[in-house]
Amino acid sequence: MHVPDGFLDAPTSMATGALAAGTVALALRGSHRELDERTAPLAGLTAAFVFAVQMMNFPVGAGTSGHLIGGALTAVLVGPWTAVLCMTVVLLVQAVLFADGGLTALGTNVTLMGLVAVGVGYGVFRLLTAVLPRTRTGVLTAAGVGAFLSVPASALAFVGLFAVGGVADVPLGTVAATMGGIHLLIGLGEAAISVAVLGAVLAVRPDLVRGAAALRRPADLARRSAPAGAGAR
């Protein structure tokens, strides 16, 4: 999904750069409400984890691969504003050190994988947690669907940018169908990895999953009334 330099014209890249910068500025303000003593150390680790797992391209159909974006997973773990910051750091490191994703395309990639993937993934997650039962299965289902939809959403956002500022003159409908189709498949991998990771963290320390706050209220009460130390595993 990392957009290289050259796909989009300069005005479009500048516009996504401005959009990305504005989003990061908002995230810097929004994230301090999300970061507490428990989640702050976890945020850096989550970013490093996303960087690592993004290296693991998995095969998708014939001759194609995909990798985790991690926007939805990160938002559920540490909160959406912090997720924007984490994704931005990952994309910055990839673009500057590893030449993965263009430098002039950095704003585009932050827009697609920071803003859109986090926004859609977390938005769907919140909508679904509002209607699903407040159980682990409910939280994991909501996160899985959010993660799944975040991938085609990012792909279609790219198509939107390509419609405005794509350098090549190719039929837009074909680009939309090809990008949307392949990223529906990649979204299945995104959902599987996100659910597996969240399931593992929820099994050990549900209190560290920010998006599972609804689950931890009763557990917190039980912990407080229990003898000292008994509540911690």
Partner: protein, 108 residues
């Protein structure tokens, strides 16, 4: 006390998994073009891609300059990436948190 220790346990386990995935697992990752590269080839706009200005980075394309073994080179690049991301993202979120504790912060 034990809550803090188990939090550190989870943190170390997560870091270990990240290092193993980036340092060892990435060798087994699929080398096929990703969804966007594939779609660009299929629909005929892949030729408009340009080399990044960072293409001469000693870590470009997840390989460390001067390391002969491809496997070692890729694994080392992954470990460096995990470390740099951890320090930058961890440092940034710690800074944001510290600033957020001041009462004059942006209400909330």
């Amino acid at each position: 006390m034990s809550a803090r220790r188990s939090r550190r346990g989870l943190w170390l386990a997560g870091l270990l998994v990240a290092l193993l995935v980036a340092g060892v697992g990435s060798w087994y990752a699929s080398g096929s073009p990703d969804g966007l590269e594939w779609a660009a080839e299929e629909t005929g706009f892949s030729h408009t891609a340009e080399d990044s200005a960072a293409a001469d980075s000693p870590l470009a394309e997840y390989a460390v300059d001067g390391v002969g073994s491809e496997r070692l080179s890729g694994g080392l690049a992954g470990v460096i990436g995990v470390a740099v991301t951890l320090v930058l993202a961890g440092g940034l979120t710690m800074l944001v948190r510290r600033r957020g504790r001041e009462p004059a912060g942006t209400g909330g």
